[in-house]
């Protein structure tokens, strides 16, 4: 009988209870929406349609392709941001002139309003009068159709996303790097290990947990990415930048088909949950790090 634990529980249990009830209620409502055919423009009224929304999603070619694009984007964005972020963090870990200024400035992309960032990149990528094509023209390269070519558009959005969110990984990594005991690294260097081996065998394993957390957060955010896609390309050209999230948005707010949009969103949530649980189990097994 541990008397000192009981009072603490009474503080947090009601709050957790409330959150659980709220989440449960919302989830039940979402499922209810999926089982009916609510459309904002429809005059037919709401009917129970069972699983027909899910059946429709299973055969919806546009939805399946959107899911594929989401997977591609999440994979590329997460891996590039984590790798680049770690590299930048390690570079910033050394002492050099202006280090404090650089560390402050590097956070700006992350803090910037996503809509402003999207608009700025849209102007930069403008095929006719954007800065990027201007610089390329100085180097003799003819204008690239960044946002109008279906093969390139998604990579243009990827570049903007990497610019915006790599600082997040840098931040996490920098925090962890500062906790690495310096004598371990010094010892490895004194033993004659090359810089690459020091990084690979000493520093990276210590960052493993951080890498895992950063990758997880970035992956979840990439699935939900909306601002850049909506502002830069609106899902075009030729659907080449339409992710599952954007497709759900279009179904909800352009087609006003609320129930089907909820089905898409619910499906995306389930897929994301499953995929990331698998990632967590793989990347952060208990007992290491």
């Amino acid at each position: 009988m541990n008397i000192s634990r009981n009072p603490t529980r009474n503080f947090y249990r009601p709050i957790i209870g409330f959150l659980a009830v709220a989440s449960g209620a919302l989830l039940l409502y979402a499922i209810w929406l999926c089982l009916h055919n609510i459309s904002l423009m429809s005059t037919k009224g709401t009917q129970f349609v069972g699983l027909s929304n899910f059946a429709r999603l299973a055969t919806d070619w546009r939805g399946i392709q959107a899911l594929g694009r989401t997977a591609l984007f999440v994979l590329l964005a997460t891996s590039i941001e984590v790798a680049l972020g770690i590299a930048i963090a390690m570079f910033l870990d050394q002492d050099f002139f202006g280090k404090k200024v650089v560390r402050a400035v590097i956070l700006v992309p992350m803090i910037m309003t996503p809509v402003i960032a999207g608009l700025t990149w849209r102007f930069l990528f403008n095929a006719q009068s954007g800065m990027i094509n201007y610089w390329l023209s100085l180097a003799g390269i003819s204008p690239v159709d960044w946002l109008g070519n279906p093969n390139i558009a998604i990579y243009a959005v990827l570049i903007a996303d990497v610019w915006q969110w790599t600082p997040f990984v840098v931040l996490l990594a920098m925090a962890t790097l500062e906790t690495i005991p310096k004598d371990l690294v010094e010892a490895a260097r004194m033993d004659g290990a090359s810089e690459v081996r020091v990084i690979w065998h000493v520093i990276l394993p210590m960052l493993r947990r951080t890498l895992g957390v950063a990758a997880l957060i970035r992956a979840i955010d990439s699935v939900k990415a909306f601002d850049l896609f909506y502002i830069m390309t609106k899902g075009g050209p030729a659907l080449s930048t339409e992710t599952q999230n954007l497709y759900g948005y279009t179904v909800a707010f352009t087609n006003f088909d609320i129930s089907y949009a909820m089905t898409i969103a619910l499906f995306l949530t389930i897929v994301t949950n499953v995929a990331l649980l698998a990632l967590t189990r793989f990347a952060m097994p208990k007992g290491t790090g």
Binding site: L40, A127, Q128, P143, T233, K234, A238, T254
Partner: protein, 435 residues
């Protein structure tokens, strides 16, 4: 005693008269501004007309005592916003601005209120005969008036008179002639000036302009019995022609160009032709923003068929409606009739590049002729031939346009053939229509 009596009688008499006067005048004042102190919530679309209304709001408040909270959003976001509020019955907006294509859906779902009763009772700003008849017509459903037109636009062909003269090109009368003209410009200017520029962005932007090709070549969105008509040979040819002329003689990046990018490109003299909304004329002729003032010619959009199902120039009319769940319908009606009144429309010509007036008086005014004389004839011709069904006016309009927009984008980008893309859009549209 007598003196006091007479004084008090005089005082009594004068007080009585004074009170009577005060009562009558305050009754008159109260009748002049019966809705003083009410606050309206209005949702409008970003456009020069809206800017003019916003600038004139203090005048409205002075005249009626009603305060207005004006919310301005881009067109694409306005419909979802008002749909969400209407379907929830929240009563958030008293007045909304929407395109004519939504009227049928709104009336059917009882989202907007009939206005006949208010127009007879509070008609100080209202003059039914002043509105352009083709603009007012979509607002009348089953004999009842449901909205007042705020601005109307059509589309036409704008071309550089100076370049055409220089290269010896005649004004194109068919789509094939447009392509030949674009080719000539591109060759003779060594690619400096683009032959033609049009909106190609996926969604309503591209569809708005492609619709001109569709109707101009004898196609249509829907058949007589309300099924999708996008898989016809006319529709396929129109999409092939549209995509071809843009890919060969259009600007780089056309597949992501919306209204602003397209207009700016032409305004800066980098293209020889463009097909776009009539409001662009106002920008072309404004020396503050345009480098081609006085060098632009205006012509109607070609028709290249002997059996057109509708006009090739669009007729987009935006109207003000009073929401059904507004708690202040009379005040909302006053705002609606004020914003569309001939005084306000004529006044707006002074403050903003608003060439889309719906008032006949405003169109004939001196201010209009002074600013927009250069393209007035072409604009009026496009308006009178304008096609109010250039995109379908059924409740599923948004979804149909969206599917068509994907087809346009795919063909423009070269990933799919016109036949396949349109067949796909056709199937999706038929599914949406039967849902």
């Amino acid at each position: 005693m007598f003196k006091t009596c007479s004084i008090s009688r005089t005082v009594f008499a004068s007080v009585a008269v004074f009170t009577a006067i005060a009562a009558t005048t305050s009754a008159v004042f109260a009748q002049e501004k019966p809705f003083t102190g009410q606050r309206l919530s209005v949702l409008m679309v970003g456009h020069p007309t809206t800017d003019a209304v916003r600038k004139a709001l203090p005048d409205f408040t002075a005249k009626t005592g009603i305060d207005v909270d004006l919310e301005v959003v881009p067109e694409a976001d306005s419909v979802p916003k008002m749909m969400l509020e209407f379907s929830a019955g929240s009563g958030r907006y008293d007045v909304v601005e929407a395109s004519s294509i939504h009227i049928q859906g709104f009336v059917g779902a009882k989202y907007i209120a009939p206005l006949e009763g208010f127009s007879t009772k509070y008609g100080e700003f209202f003059d039914k005969n002043d509105f352009v008849p083709t603009y007012l017509k979509p607002n009348i459903v089953e004999g009842n008036l449901y909205g007042l037109p705020l601005f109307g636009e059509s589309s036409f062909l704008m071309y550089r008179k100076d370049l055409f003269e220089q290269y010896g090109i005649a004004v194109p009368k068919t789509f094939d002639e447009i392509e030949k003209a674009a080719k000539t410009v591109k060759e003779k200017s060594n690619g400096e000036v683009v032959g033609i520029t049009m909106r190609g962005q996926q969604g309503i932007q591209g569809v708005y302009i492609w619709a001109s090709y569709l109707w101009g070549m004898g196609g249509s969105f829907l058949t007589e019995d309300g099924k999708s008509a996008l898989d016809t040979p006319e529709a396929t040819k129109s999409l092939e022609t549209f995509a071809h002329v843009l890919r060969e003689y259009g600007p780089v990046g056309v597949a992501n160009m919306g209204w602003e990018e397209n207009r700016l490109l032409f305004q800066q003299g980098k293209a020889a032709m463009t097909i776009d909304a009539t409001v662009n004329g106002a920008f072309n002729e404004d020396p503050a923003v345009s480098t081609i003032v006085g060098k632009v010619g205006y012509a109607p959009i070609p028709v290249q068929t002997t059996k057109p199902k509708g006009g090739s120039s669009s007729l987009a009319v935006f109207n003000l409606h009073v929401a059904s769940d507004s708690q202040q319908k009379e005040a909302a009606w006053l705002f609606t009739s004020w914003a569309t009144s001939k005084q306000q429309q004529i006044h707006s010509l002074e403050t903003d590049p608003n060439s889309g007036v719906t008032s006949l008086a405003a169109m004939d005014s001196k201010a209009f002729n002074k600013r927009y004389g250069a393209f007035k004839t072409a604009m009026l011709a496009s308006l009178s031939n304008g096609n109010p069904q250039y995109i379908p006016t059924v409740p599923q309009a948004n979804e149909l346009v969206n599917n068509a927009g994907i087809a346009v984008s795919k063909v423009l980008a070269g990933t799919t053939s016109a036949t396949d893309a349109l067949k796909e859009a056709n199937d999706l549209n038929n599914a949406a229509l039967t849902r």
